[in-house]
Symmetry: C3
Subunit: 140 residues, 3 copies
């Protein structure tokens, strides 16, 4: 069994934003030399996500508005007890649970085995600082 691990770093200039990281992951699979296996890709921070969806700017705006409705940003300690610790990002911990921590993607014939519109995104919910993403390939 082969394995290959890389760490990517992203710094989203806004509190919330989505980056298409598919090209980086495709390169990691090529570097790994794995032809049949799995790619795990996860946010290493707990106010960020890695998820698979569509690269359509209108949809990304919809996601932002929808997540803001489900878990509104509110730095006050009244709404969120987490913000009594000096943090202001309790909402980001919730948004990340809705969008997920990680994806596991099949590698078939040396490539990410995607459906027609699948693209991988880094989802940031408490940005304006550098955060890391882990990508690990295992297989043969």
């Amino acid at each position: 069994m082969k394995s290959h691990t890389e760490y990517l770093t992203f710094n989203v200039p806004a509190r919330m934003g989505f980056l298409n990281i598919t090209p980086q992951l495709e390169q990691i699979v090529r570097t790994s030399g794995v032809k049949e296996g799995l790619l795990l890709c996860n946010a290493m921070h707990i106010t960020a996500s890695v998820f698979v969806n569509d690269d359509e700017p209108g949809l990304h705006e919809d996601y932002k508005a929808w997540l803001e409705g489900l878990a509104p940003f509110d730095p006050s300690p009244q709404r969120y007890k987490h913000n009594r610790t000096g943090e202001d990002n309790a909402d980001a911990h919730m948004k990340r649970q809705v969008m997920g921590r990680e994806v596991v993607i099949a590698i078939t014939n040396g490539k990410l085995d995607f459906g027609p519109w699948e693209q991988v995104f880094y989802g940031e919910f408490d940005g304006r600082r550098s955060k890391r993403v882990l990508a690990k390939v295992i297989g043969e």
Copy 2:
């Protein structure tokens, strides 16, 4: 390390619906010959889910009503910017995030290593057309 990949196709006649795909996955594990390993099963479309829960029709009706409350179907371009592209399925992209893209299931002694009520479902949120699901087994 062994690997085995299959693609399943489903066509749900309604906009939203859930199909129990556990028997197909059990067959795929048998075909793979893997005794110890992992099964990845994911929707290949971004308005569909694969998830594990209970095969109880009342619960499935509850899921539909609950998801409709969290992300209502609305083909107009007013509520969802994604629907300005000519699509009408922005809500389906959200419902899929709540229910998830994929499951990873342990294979132990040649079988899916389930708890007492675990069953795997294909979740459709923009149906009435054929969509694919990927199942990949790795292990030994």
Copy 3:
């Protein structure tokens, strides 16, 4: 390829609660002898979750209140059809979907490859009884 499987049992005395299970998983990785690979950890019950987030009590209270808002406990058969079966836990099946069934964590150099604040939790949404969690390591 090596593999190693363990089953953990938890009994949360409240309906909803979160337990940090990171130490148990670290021990399982050591026992497995795997240096490079993946750990799958999933709830074996469909009203419970395994998820990665922060070990901060205020945040856990926020999660409880937030999940209760998204899917309120209501044992009556009026709100949830699932509760017409004699169950009272339809809400727990929804809370579990928001928080997720499983996590897949990279093992690098013989350790769980975590970001600075990542901790693994068992999330219980219908407690006061014993439930199992599966942990499976594959790799070399």
